[in-house]
């Protein structure tokens, strides 16, 4: 759906059509629009807490475009807004989590915002302790392999989290069993305030892949298109039974860690300004415009449509009811069913 009549050829080398490129742009921009809305709501006192993924969206959309929605599995973390969107969660779903309403499909308002999950979309429920999810992804991949489902499991975390013991144990297991598993580290150089130099003994986390007998690939997360081919190759390998892949995306964290954090306490103005150059959204936009895939009209149309969706989601979510006290004891165990359903 490029504006020029002839295909741009931009995605040819990596096997993406102009239509797919526009779709990817739409997702990056939508993720950003939702994310910005969350912060606006927080500043306005309408939601108490935000944690989000500005700066990470490009890598996620680039990588996730290689996966099969409704078939493969995502095991997300709190910066995975864009990844969840690519797998079918809607802006309404995400805002319902943000407002913690009863109809929030992720947790019915039980979890903090940003802890997404959806059984309908093969997105496993997120929890807060970092890195635990990598073992769940390995387990999903093990089940896919044993059951012969041809599914691939992909999981994400920050470079800080990647130092947790669970990561070592999961990669070792995935390596031994050649699991259909893809590990994505979103390296934004900080774990809250702790800079990479104090959280990581190496510059590139992906060098650790060699210790588990799997390829380690480094991609520039500001380059959406560049993130796709290694992911496509990882998925191919996984489906072919060739094993797991470790992808490190170098990204930038454009916001504070969360709404509870003030990053000016530990990042200089100069650094913050410089980092804005690594924002994937304007770069992807410029790339698509240069190639003629995107023009003013399409860009405006996408912006308007995204805004409409975000407005709709905000209004919908804010208007939904809170969960009620009579549901609070439900689902500790499988046998805890609502009284109505049991009657």
């Amino acid at each position: 759906m490029g504006r020029s009549t002839a295909p741009s050829g931009l995605g040819d080398a990596v096997g993406l059509s102009d239509e797919q490129l526009v779709g990817m742009y739409r997702q990056v921009a939508l993720a950003r629009a939702i994310d910005e809305r969350m912060w606006v709501l927080n500043r306005a006192g309408r939601v108490p807490f935000v944690i989000s993924g500005q700066g990470h969206e490009g890598a996620l959309v680039g990588i996730m475009s290689a996966f099969r929605r409704g078939h493969d599995w995502i095991v997300p973390f709190y910066r995975s807004i864009a990844a969840c969107l690519t797998f079918g969660m809607t802006p309404r779903d995400l805002l319902l989590a943000q407002f913690a309403k009863a109809s929030d499909p992720s947790s019915g308002g039980r979890q903090m915002p940003g802890h997404y999950g959806s059984a309908a979309h093969n997105i496993l429920s997120t929890s807060s302790p970092v890195a635990t999810q990598i073992l769940h992804a390995a387990g999903i991949a093990l089940a896919a392999k044993l059951r012969g489902t041809d599914q691939v499991a992909v999981t994400f975390m920050g470079e800080g989290a990647s130092n947790q013991g669970d990561v070592h144990e999961a990669l070792n297991f995935a390596g031994i069993h050649h699991l259909p598993f893809v590990f994505v580290v979103e390296n934004n150089g900080y774990a809250i305030s702790v800079p990479a130099s104090k959280e990581l003994a190496v510059r590139d986390v992906a060098v650790r892949a060699a210790g588990y007998g799997m390829p380690g690939v480094i991609v520039d997360g500001a380059d959406v298109l560049g993130c796709y081919p290694p992911a496509a190759e990882a998925v191919r390998r996984a489906r072919a039974g060739e094993g797991s892949t470790f992808i490190e995306a170098k990204v930038t964290r454009l916001t504070a860690h969360s709404s509870d954090d003030q990053q000016t306490r530990y990042r200089s103005e100069a650094e913050l300004t410089a980092e804005r150059a690594r924002d994937p959204l304007p770069r992807f936009r410029a790339q698509l415009r240069d190639a003629g895939v995107l023009d003013d009209a399409l860009e405006a149309e996408i912006a308007a449509e995204n805004l409409r969706q975000v407005d709709d989601a905000t209004e919908h979510a804010e208007g939904e009811p809170d969960p009620t006290v009579d549901t609070a004891l439900l689902y500790v165990y499988a046998e805890d069913r609502p009284p109505a359903a049991g009657a």
Partner: protein, 327 residues
Amino acid sequence: MATRTFIESIRETLAGEMRRDPATIVLGEDVGRKGGVFLATDGLYAEFGESRVIDTPLTESMIVGVSIGAAANGLRPIAEIQFADFIFPAFNQILSEAARMRYRSNNAFGCPITIRAPYGGGVHGALHHSQSVEAFFTHIPGLKVVVPSTPHDARGLLRSAIRDDDPVLFFEHKKLYRSVRGDVPDREYTIPLGSAAVARPGTQITVVAYGLMTHYALEAADTVDDEGISVEVIDLRSLRPLDRGTLLESVRKTGKCLIVYEDNRFGGYGAEVAAIVAEEAFDYLDGSITRLAGPDVPGVPYNHVLEDWFMVSPAKIADAIRTLAAY
């Protein structure tokens, strides 16, 4: 009806459940070719192959974490932790993940996994091969915790655990594995989680126990019976959910309650039992609620003199019964 040792009963139950449901897998350290360090999984590797009986790396967090994920994608994992003492590297996965998956996802995801682990002292295991760890898990909403004491119960409870849609911890006392035999019916029975058994009826004192302590309590009850003290022994079997009905009915009847557990006394599982009895049977009591438990030292020492000192024994239970009877 066949006679089985405790461990034979477990082994056959595992095999039976694996035959019944192709979604079941067994995973853990040395569970494959070796058949487990206690041989609880002996023969499974030969029958079901290495894809369903997985010799894992020496990494407990991985064993549980991978089980959680595998369960989310359609399997029904039965994980073995080689000794209960080594379950703690997996504590975060059990507490923060397995136990919460259903609640935190508002029922979108469940976590049907069973974690088996041999526990308990009196086996020359010293500090790190003798622990009773149940109290750390019975405190966690979202988990179920089972401690069988007979080959019969081990079978019925293990079946229920494996078929349960939530995470179940299944603790097996190492000392029972080969020392206890009993009848195991051939039919496909299950014992619901959350049902205690009156292991011995009596009228004057209720002794509450589980696992190895059930056997010791029964021995002690025999001893004091000759002295004219009638003891009712309640074998809890399932610690969470707890069968409050059976417990309270017995205490209300006898008016006296002795709780026996092998674990360290302070903050152990018996504290909760005592608290429930104190709260819900207060008006029926005619004696202090008494606990007999392991001393508050960090683990069972190795040397046999110190180990004997640590362990609750039938003689110590009999003494505690006599004291309470005289209250």
